[in-house]
Symmetry: C2
Subunit: 153 residues, 2 copies
């Protein structure tokens, strides 16, 4: 089996943010939505059914974790999230990936889905490093919430 | 906690097919795609994060099972599936539900998503009972595939 590489097509609209236990996590470069893309580091996978049961369980955990990060990004921007949209499509880029998008009732595409609607609004280049750092910080926080036992008093 | 009921909005475009361990399973009444809707029977849930870890695991199993049913429906119609689309959106009907849609490169909406694109093409009324029976039969087969140990020789 060859090594995992994210499909080069992801470089066009998203930037690498952080590695989680299963997934290579990217930020979609669209300032309209807090939007993460989870790409399981499983070479050749295009469908959830191709993951082992163990990897599927981790994927489910990381989807929930991504939702918490997306909600926190929305809060930090003063735009709390009304609904999470979670989707594994892959009609354009077949490599298995899961979108986790924070939606608001006043966002520009509500209530339609965000895919197949043309170009997004890239972040200001000087904003991106700050957003990435926030995702890294939130990742540790959410990891703690999910996998560490509560500290004893 | 009140009893689970599927949101009445689902009655407009889909029909009840079968109950699985976690989900109330519906067939989207759109003859263009084999398309199931999984609604966890958890009253009040609108997001995956609100499910217990145990229910999330079952939901993942049932998503994979729905994919196998959708693929089998496509095969039976002589139209094998090229790609599964799996999504939990809920912008219009908030009750937690997961779409599992079989897509083909020659389907009318490829490569766009199927949501937010206006009306579908309802099945012929006389066709529906046969499709539902096939889903029931496939459900038993896929349940066996997933949860029963292989017979020993």
């Amino acid at each position: 089996m060859s090594a995992f590489h994210p499909d080069p097509a992801f470089q066009a609209g998203s930037v690498f943010a952080v590695d989680w236990p299963l997934c290579h996590v990217r930020l979609q470069d669209d300032a309209r939505f807090p939007w993460l893309i989870l790409i399981p580091r499983v070479s050749g996978a295009t469908e959830i059914e191709q993951l082992s049961a163990a990897d599927r369980a981790v994927l489910m955990d990381e989807i929930v974790r991504a939702g918490a990060v997306v909600r926190a990004l929305g809060e930090a921007a003063g735009r709390p999230i009304d609904k999470l949209n979670v989707a594994a499509l892959g009609n354009v880029t077949a490599q298995l990936h899961v979108h986790v998008v924070g939606r608001r009732r006043d966002d520009p595409l509500w209530p339609d889905p965000v895919w197949g609607r043309g170009g997004g609004e890239p972040h200001q280049p000087e904003e991106l490093p700050g957003v990435i750092r926030r995702i890294e910080t939130l990742s540790h926080r959410e990891e703690g919430d999910v996998s560490e036992p509560a500290p004893r008093s």
